[in-house]
Structure formats: C-alpha cells, structure tokens
C-alpha cells in the first residue's frame, strides 16, 4: 500500500474550518444562553409556554413568540435581538454547511466531484445566508 499524502500542518483551509467549527459551536451555546436568560428577564415565565421559550432560545425572532400571551412585542423585536439573530444565522449556516461538506466528502473521492460539491454547497450557503439575513432585517 502506497503511503498517503497528508496535508502540511499549519494554517490551511481544513485547520481553519476545524477551528471555526469549535469557535462557532461555543459561540452558539453562548448565544442560546443569552436568548434564554433574556427571555426570562422579559417575562417569559408569565406569558409563554416552554415550547415557545425553546423556539425563542434557538432563534430569538419575534415571529417565534408572536402567538404567545406577551402583552407587548416591542422588547422582543429590536436591533439588539436582530444582531443576536444575524450572528446566529451566520454561525449556524456556516457551521452547518461546512459540516455537511465534511460528511459528504468522506464518501466522494474524485477531485472533480469534490469541487462540484463544494461549489453547490457554497451557492446553497450563500442563498441561506441571504434569505436568513433578509428575514431577520424585515421581521
């Protein structure tokens, strides 16, 4: 068996994405904690059920709490929560599409198909980011 080629250690693409996956994962845990605590401070205990609180925690979008008993939507729909959502969309979509790339590339060994896959995933990633950013800024 021929010895396989191992990429040179250092600041290459795979290492950067490995690092990004850890950092964005930790960042999303922190963002979820901020959303959860923020909702409790804004009175979630008295105005919504647990499922709604969870939906808000995963993504602090005002549409996620619109059907609960909150008296006023204003504290839930402002620039602060929009920034939290934009961060979550960016970290979530990038972390997720990179993960999808990693899983699929384990089953694709030809260089050409791998390149095609990367192009398709890049386009899907940009479409999701665009749609997500648009939704956050208009809702």
């Amino acid at each position: 068996m021929k010895p396989r080629k191992v990429p040179t250690p250092g600041w290459n693409f795979e290492y950067l994405m490995w690092l990004f996956t850890r950092i964005s994962g930790a960042a999303m845990l922190l963002l979820a904690l901020i959303g959860f605590v923020g909702a409790l401070i804004m009175g979630a205990r008295y105005h919504m059920d647990l499922g709604t609180l969870m939906r808000w925690t995963f993504f602090p979008n005002p549409n996620h709490v619109l059907n609960s008993d909150i008296p006023d939507i204003a504290p839930w729909a402002n620039a602060y929560w929009q920034i939290m959502q934009l961060l979550l969309v960016f970290f979530g979509a990038t972390h997720g599409f990179n993960g999808l790339r990693l899983v699929l590339e384990e089953y694709i060994h030809s260089w050409g198909w791998q390149l095609a896959l990367r192009l398709v995933l890049m386009i899907l990633w940009l479409i999701t980011l665009g749609a997500g950013f648009f939704l956050v800024l208009t809702s």
Binding site: M54, G92, G96, F97, G99, V103, H109, T128, L135, S139
Partner: protein, 128 residues
C-alpha cells in the same frame, strides 16, 4: 482528501465502539437533520414572506407539528451538549483519559433536559 475505506456492512455492524461511537453517529444524524431542515425552514420563511408559495406553508406546517418539533429539539439539544463535550476534550486533551465518563455525564444532562421539555410539550399539545 480522505482514505477510501472498504469496510463490509457486517464488519461495520459488529464493530463495538461503545458510547463514543454512538455519540459520533448521533452527532452526524442530528447535524444533518438540523442543516437540512433548519435551512429549509429559513427558506420557507423567506418563501412565505416574499414569494407566497404554497410549498412554504406546507413545509412550515410539517416543521411546526409536535412530532417534528420533538425530533428537531432532540437534534439541537444532543448536538449542543455533544459539541460541548468535543470542544472540552479537544481543548484539554489530558481529559481523553475520562472519555467514557464524559459520555455518561453527557447523557445525564441530555436525557433529563430532553425528557422534561418533551413531556411538557406533549402535555400542552394534548391539553390544547
């Protein structure tokens, strides 16, 4: 590039990797579940708001149903706790010695949190 692996299915099923192996499998399944269905949910939200397509409403009706919420909630909570375990073990490699204990700790967090939330969500749904 990864190594081409030719492992027969029988050998794969007989492989006894234990807790960490199942965590790896579930991490993949939950990750794929989230990226496919949450990206779909974002696109459906965009579709309802901007394109007005029936497909988007159809998609979100399924997405917001109790069964699907229970599935995606498991994906999120497991992927989050397992991801935290991976970050901790990668950051402090000396802790690899206790990796079996980490798996037990992980389930001790995931199961009660998931079961409690799922129970309350099911009860609310039955009560209308």
């Amino acid at each position: 590039m990864t190594l081409p692996r030719r492992v027969p299915l029988g050998a794969a099923l007989r492989y006894r990797g234990g807790g960490p192996m199942w965590a790896w499998i579930l991490h993949r399944i939950s990750g794929l579940g989230m990226i496919l269905f949450i990206a779909g949910h974002v696109l459906a939200g965009f579709g309802i708001q901007q394109l007005g397509g029936d497909w988007a409403i159809w998609y979100n009706t399924i997405y917001e149903s109790l069964y699907f919420q229970l599935f995606i909630y498991f994906c999120v909570i497991f992927h989050a706790v397992n991801g935290a375990r991976i970050i901790i073990l990668d950051t402090w490699p000396a802790l690899i010695k206790f990796q079996r204990e980490f798996i037990w700790l992980e389930w001790a967090i995931v199961l009660p949190v998931y079961a409690l939330t799922a129970w309350i969500m099911i009860q609310r749904s039955l009560g209308g």
